[in-house]
Each structure stands twice: as structure tokens, then as C-alpha cells.
Amino acid sequence: MENFSIPIGEAIEATIDFLVEHFAFLTKAFSEVTGNGIDILVSVMMFFHPGVLIFLFAGIAWFITKRTGIALFTLLGLALIWNMGLWDPTVSTIALVLIATLFAIILGVPLGIFAAMSQIFYRIVMPILDFMQTMPAFVYLIPAIPFFGLGKVAAIFSTVVFSMPPAIRLTCLGIKQVPNELVEAADAFGSNKWQKLFKLQLPIATPTIMAGINQTIMLALSMVVIAAMIGAKGLGGEVWKAIQRLQPGKGFEAGLGIVIVAIILDRIMQRVGGKTRT
């Protein structure tokens, strides 16, 4: 049996080699853009004194959610992180998550819309998404390295790929869930498909799309931690260091930091999604 092993691995490697060789200009451009994006975002956040930034974040949380509880949690949670001496890696993690999520949304939402509008594309993309979701997360790290080498950009790349499926899936679902009678009404009054999309389908699908984006952010956060393995640094990097040095205490602190960031992002995003419902 083993004599005849089907060359799946070889094929993948050949493909990657081919892509690396011929699309280097693309990967280079992506590297430049994301690399610069992260650097700028990090230096903007680092420009502020941590205390100031923490109040700023709490203010943003309050502004979006109008919940004192969430604002207070943001304030205390981030203060604890600062106190644990994890401020710099946290800023770097937040920057990575934001940039990765931004890419995932920019790519995922239009793909979801397209999947909802084209039955053929839907049939192609859904099995791929199923496949992607059953794949262990760190497998996504592997193809990133030959393209981008070790570091933040490779981490972002694999995070985007890993966290995009819910954005696609729930955008598509949200649009398909728009009641048929409403779609009929839009058609009956002579809407073209863009008018139908922007005046009816997207507004009605917004809560579902927001739920998808929320999931994307959570996945991005979990992936950013895993991506520490290929040099993403940040909070994941702290956990990684702690494991290698057998320092359970430090590892737990970094883990706690991740949880705090996750809860803050989750609560804020839930309110963004919920608010659009009328």
C-alpha cells in the first residue's frame, strides 16, 4: 500500500513552490502593507501612556455599549494586565487581532454576499469552509512560512485564513434568511439587485453578519495566540515562553490577559450587532 502513496503532500509542496516563485510580488506587497499597518497601529497605541489608553478604551467601550458594567470591566481588566506587566504584548496582540479581523471582514463579507447571490459559488465555497473548520488551527501556519517567513505578517496571514469562515458563512446565512415575501416586495417594486442588497438584504442581515464578525474576532484572537509559534509575539508569545521555561505562573497570567481581551471584544461586538435590530 505504501508503495503507491498518492502524492498529496508532494502536490501541495509543488503548488506552494510555484506560487512562491511566481507570486512573490503579491506576497511582498501584502507583507509591506500589513507590516506597516501593524507597526503604525502599535506605535499609535504606544504613543499614549498606558493609563491614558486604558481610560480611552473604557470610554470607547462605554460609548459603543452604553453599559457602565462593560466600561468598568474594560477599565479594571486592562489595569490588571498593566499591573501584571503585560501591557506591551497586549497592545501587540490587540493590533494583530484588529488588523487580521479587518482583512477577514473585507474579504469575508463580500464572499458571503456573493455566496448568497450565486448558487454555484455557494456550492463551491461551503464544502471548503467545512473543510477549513475541521482542519487543526496550527496547520494554517505551515503555508504562511514559505510565503512570508517567520514573524507577524505570516501570523496575520494564517489568522485571516483561519478566522474568515464565520464571516463568510453568517453573511451568506443572514442574506438567505431575509423572508421571501420581503424579497418579493423589493422585486415587485422594480429594485435591481444592488438596490435590493443595500436597501433590504444587508440591513436585515446586519445582526447575523455582526454575529459572524464577532465569531471572527474570537477566532482571530485564539489564532493570534497559536501564531506565537511562528513569531507573532504578543500575549501568545508570553504563554509560549512560559511553556518553554516551565513557568506556570507566568503562563497563567498571560492566559488571563488573553481572556480579558477576549471578553472585552466579545461584549463590545455583541452590542454593535444587537443595536441595529429595531
Binding site: 418579493e184 415587485a188 417594486f189 422594480g190 435591481n192 433590504l200 436585515i204 429595531t278
Partner: protein, 401 residues
């Protein structure tokens, strides 16, 4: 002469090979047989009918008989499998995608059974939708929307959201959304079926009075014969995708084309079609017990050319006074109607069957008074008005027996 809408040999078959099923329909097979043999659902089979400019055509039939499919073939929300739909002499089935959109904007508005209002838009934004799609200037479309909303009695609700309105009001928005468009044809798919009976009757009345002013061409879908009789200038009856009869309300009531129609008709009570409310006329004058004396009452009778007049007391119907008695009382110098008012007269409630009214009129010196629950006078029935309304139907009934 050509009609506003002419539908010729229209078919809609659901399934991958409609042509096969159409052949089977032509061979005389039924919807069930075709379903059993080919797994194709026949929605509409060989429908031919027309709608005249400015009339209300009601398409009636039991649930599943193909009414919604038929009406959606008119604006091609569903694409017909075969046949022609001519509107203003243009074959709608031949329009390409963009032509179809423009055609819908110009000619075809629609009102839906479950309202189909956009939940994220205010009442006004819903009403403006059709105009917004046509990129009409915001000021003009606001003006038109406001006008449509006041036509359906929703002025003041512009900034509410649909979820804040009752069912009846939501459907008024649906109606306003269609009216704002100025399209000459309005398709209404069971527009009032989701409303409770009282509201439903209001909406029917309102549609009729709007139609008096607008003279649109309306295709109204209903599964309720009473509604069809009330609204329809003509009625098309459907069964299992086929049109089984087409005609006026009278045609359908008196000459049911087959057993299916007859069954349908059996369920309508003639008395429901014609009741006291539908044959009464407005009282031309009323005397007031507290303020009118015999002379005033006489003047009112003279003015309205009637020989007796109903008398109101404390907002309620109290009695009746004849002209003869009033003359006598005036000569005696009476100052009030007290001595001559007769409190023994026939009063009925608005739902009394028209057939029963005949016997009552025969035994009464006075017109019959129609009163509501609060004993207030709603209208009067005199022999002339009742006869006029009933005679056509009576004659036709006798002809068929």
C-alpha cells in the same frame, strides 16, 4: 377591443420539464394525475382571462388552487412556463430583465398577504420605497408618500416602525406603498386575509372608496366568496390551477358553472350578501324631541318630501311622527311632539336578512328603522330601496329554479 390586461393560455408548471406537463394538461389530465406521473406541480393551467381598465377583478379559489401563482405571473415574480400576458398591448413575458424592472415600476404595484413591510424602515420610508428605487427626488417622494399615507388614514404615523402598528395599520402602509407609486395596476394577493373580520370589512370599504377616486385596475386575490362578491366587478374562480368560471357576482351566484362553484356559492348566505345595512338609505331628515314642535317637524318633512319622520330623543331613536298628525297638532297649537309621537314602529339591527324585511314592510305604516346597539338611527328602509336592490337577484334566482 383590447383590455388593460389580457392573459392567454397561461401555464406555470413547477419542475424541471414543464413542457411535458403542459402536453398532459392539453390531453385533459388533472393536476393530481400529472403530479403522480411526473412529479411536476401544476400551478396554473391554461388560464385565459382579461381585466378591464379601472375594474376590480377578484381571483377566487381554495388554498392551493393557484391564485398566488397566477397573480405572480402577471408581474413575473414567477416566470410563466407558457402563454402570454399582455398589458397595454405589450407582452410582459417577452421583456428582458431591465425592461421588466421598468415595467413593474411604471405599471404594477403590489400588496401582500402578510404585508411584507421592511422592518428596518419607518412607515414613511416604506411608503417611499418604490419611488426611491426610481431615484425620484427626495422632496417629491416625501410629498407623494405623505399624500398616500393620508389617503389611507395614516397621517401622523410617518416616523413609526411597522412593528409598532397593528395588523390593520400595517396593511394600510402596504396599501400606501403601492399607492405612492402611481402605477395603474395594483395586484393584491389576499391583501386582507390576515386581518380579523371587523378590520377586514373596514379595509374593504376603504379600498372601494379609494377605488371610486382612483380608478386603478385591480387584480384582487381572495379565498373568501363574501369578499369577492363585495369587491369584485367581475370574479374569476380557480380550481386546481384551472379557471372554472369567470363572470359578475350575479353570474356566479345564479349560474354556477359546475358543482365546485355551486359548492362555493352554497356557503354564501344570500342574506349575508344583502342585509339591512346594505339596503338601507340615509334618513333625509330627523326631528328632535326636545327642540322640534309639530311645525318644525312638518317643515322638515316638506323639505325632504317624506310623509313621516323619525324622532330622536337623548341621541336615541324615540319614535315616529306622520305628516297628517303633525298638521292636526299644529292646528291645535301644540308646542311639542309629545301627543303625536308614535313609539310603536319596527326597528331592526343592521345584520337583519333582507328577505325578512319584506314581510315587515308589508305590515308597517312607516319605514323600517335600522338602529345600532346604542339605539341610534343608522338608516331607514323604504319599499322602493329594498325592492330595487333585491329585484335583480330575485328574478335571476327564479330563472335558475
Amino acid at each position: 377591443m383590447t383590455h388593460k390586461i389580457e392573459v392567454q393560455n397561461l401555464y406555470k408548471v413547477f419542475g424541471p420539464h414543464p413542457q411535458e406537463a403542459i402536453k398532459m394538461v392539453e390531453q385533459g389530465k388533472t393536476k393530481d394525475e400529472i403530479m403522480a406521473e411526473t412529479k411536476h406541480g401544476v400551478g396554473v393551467a391554461n388560464a385565459t382571462f382579461h381585466v378591464k381598465e379601472g375594474e376590480i377583478l377578484v381571483v377566487m379559489g381554495l388554498s392551493g388552487s393557484g391564485k398566488s401563482t397566477l397573480v405572480r405571473c402577471l408581474n413575473r415574480l414567477i416566470d410563466p412556463s407558457a402563454g402570454k400576458v399582455m398589458i397595454d398591448g405589450e407582452d410582459v413575458t417577452q421583456l428582458d430583465h431591465n425592461q421588466l424592472r421598468r415595467f413593474r415600476q411604471k405599471h404594477l404595484s403590489m400588496v401582500f398577504q402578510n404585508f411584507a413591510l421592511f422592518p428596518h424602515r419607518t412607515v414613511r420610508q416604506n411608503t417611499e420605497y418604490g419611488l426611491e428605487i426610481q431615484k425620484v427626488d427626495p422632496e417629491i417622494r416625501k410629498e407623494k408618500a405623505m399624500k398616500a399615507l393620508s389617503q389611507v388614514g395614516l397621517a401622523g404615523w410617518e416616523e413609526s416602525y411597522p412593528a409598532q402598528l397593528s395588523g390593520g395599520m400595517q396593511q394600510r402602509v402596504g396599501l400606501a406603498r403601492a399607492l405612492a407609486l402611481d402605477a395603474d395596476i395594483m395586484l393584491m394577493d389576499e391583501a386582507f386575509s390576515a386581518l380579523d373580520p371587523l378590520i377586514r370589512r373596514d379595509m374593504q370599504d376603504e379600498l372601494l372608496s379609494l377605488q371610486d377616486k382612483m380608478q386603478k385596475t385591480i387584480v384582487f386575490i381572495s379565498h373568501d366568496l363574501d369578499e369577492a362578491l363585495k369587491l369584485g366587478d367581475r370574479i374569476v374562480l380557480m380550481k386546481d390551477g384551472f379557471i372554472v368560471q369567470e363572470g359578475t357576482a350575479e353570474d356566479i351566484l345564479t349560474n354556477p358553472a359546475n358543482e365546485y362553484v355551486a359548492k362555493f356559492v352554497e356557503e354564501v348566505d344570500m342574506s349575508k350578501v344583502l342585509n339591512a345595512e346594505s339596503v338601507m338609505i340615509k334618513p333625509r331628515e330627523v326631528a328632535y324631541f326636545s327642540t322640534d314642535g309639530p311645525r318644525a317637524a312638518l317643515r322638515k318633512m316638506e323639505h325632504a318630501s317624506i310623509s313621516s319622520i323619525f324622532v330622536r330623543k337623548d341621541k336615541k331613536l324615540y319614535g315616529v311622527v306622520t305628516a297628517d298628525d303633525a298638521i292636526e297638532a299644529a292646528e291645535r297649537g301644540d308646542k311639542t311632539l309629545e301627543k303625536i309621537v308614535n313609539t310603536e314602529f319596527i326597528k331592526v339591527d343592521p345584520d337583519t336578512q333582507a328577505n325578512d324585511l319584506f314581510a315587515m314592510l308589508a305590515t308597517s305604516k312607516y319605514p323600517i328603522a335600522v338602529v345600532n346597539d346604542e339605539e341610534q338611527l343608522m338608516g331607514v328602509i323604504i319599499k322602493g330601496s329594498l325592492l330595487a336592490k333585491l329585484s335583480e337577484k330575485r328574478i335571476k334566482e327564479m330563472e335558475t329554479q
